[in-house]
Subunit: 105 residues, 2 copies
DNA sequence: CCTTAGGTATGATGGATGTCATACCTAAGT
DNA sequence: ACTTAGGTATGACATCCATCATACCTAAGG
C-alpha cells in the first residue's frame, strides 16, 4: 500500500519525508505557489522557472512526488504537477497555510 | 537582531531552519515531548534518553536552539531545555500540534 | 579529594543531498 | 524532416549532516 508514488492515501503520508521535502527553498516555493493557486491547478515543472538546471528540477519534483505532496499527471508532451491538497489537509491540517504564507525568500 | 541564539523574537524564526530542524526524528521527538508536556516544562538534554552519544545529543540540541525552537537555560551543573511555545505559536500557528500528534516512530 | 553525571569542543568518517553536464526521449510546430 | 521544448537517466562532484571517540570542563555527592 502506497509504494507506487502516486495513489498515496493520506495515512501513507510520512511526516519525516514531508518535512525533509519542505526543507528545501526551491521545493517550498513550488508548494507555496500551488497552495496559493486555485484547487486543482496543474502546472508544468518548467513553469516554475526554478533557477537550476533541468536535471535538478526533475530531482526536486521527484522528491515532492515521493513525499506525497504532489501528483504528476502525464500529458503526452509534458507532465503537469498538481498539489495533493485533500490528502495533505486531511493528514496534516495547518501545514499548507504555513508554507503558503511564507514571504518568498 | 536575533544573532544571539537566545532572545529570538517570533519574527526572527526562519521557516527553512525550523523545517530542517524538524526533519530529524530525534529532534522531532524532543519537540514532541516538550509540546505534549505542560507549558514551561524544563528538561535536561539527557532526560530524553536519545539513543545516540552525548556529543550527538549536544549537536541536536544546538540545531534546535539555533532554529529558535527551544531555549536552553543554564543551571550550573546542567542545562535545561524549554520549548519556545509562544514564539512558535505566534509565528507558525498549527506547527506544534502537527509535531505533537505524530505517532512516535 | 575523588568520582560521577551532564555538557561541550574538536576532529574524523560515511552517507545523504543539491547541483551540474551530457545524452537521450517524445510530442508539437514550422 | 528538422527544430524546439519539456522531461528523464546517468554519472560525477562538492557540500552538508548525523554520528562517533576522545578529551575536557563544571558542579554535586560521597
Amino acid at each position: 500500500m502506497g509504494e507506487k508514488d502516486d495513489n498515496l492515501e493520506p495515512v501513507d503520508l510520512d511526516l519525516g519525508k514531508v518535512l525533509t521535502a519542505l526543507a528545501d527553498p526551491h521545493r517550498r516555493r513550488v508548494i507555496r505557489e500551488l497552495a496559493q493557486a486555485d484547487t486543482g491547478t496543474e502546472r508544468t515543472c518548467a513553469s516554475f522557472r526554478l533557477p537550476v538546471s533541468k536535471a535538478t528540477v526533475t530531482h526536486h519534483f521527484r522528491v515532492l512526488r515521493e513525499a506525497g505532496l504532489i501528483r504528476q499527471v502525464d500529458r503526452g508532451n509534458s507532465r503537469a504537477a498538481a498539489l495533493r491538497r485533500e490528502e495533505i489537509d486531511t493528514r496534516f491540517p495547518g501545514l499548507l497555510p504555513l508554507i503558503a504564507e511564507e514571504i518568498s525568500p
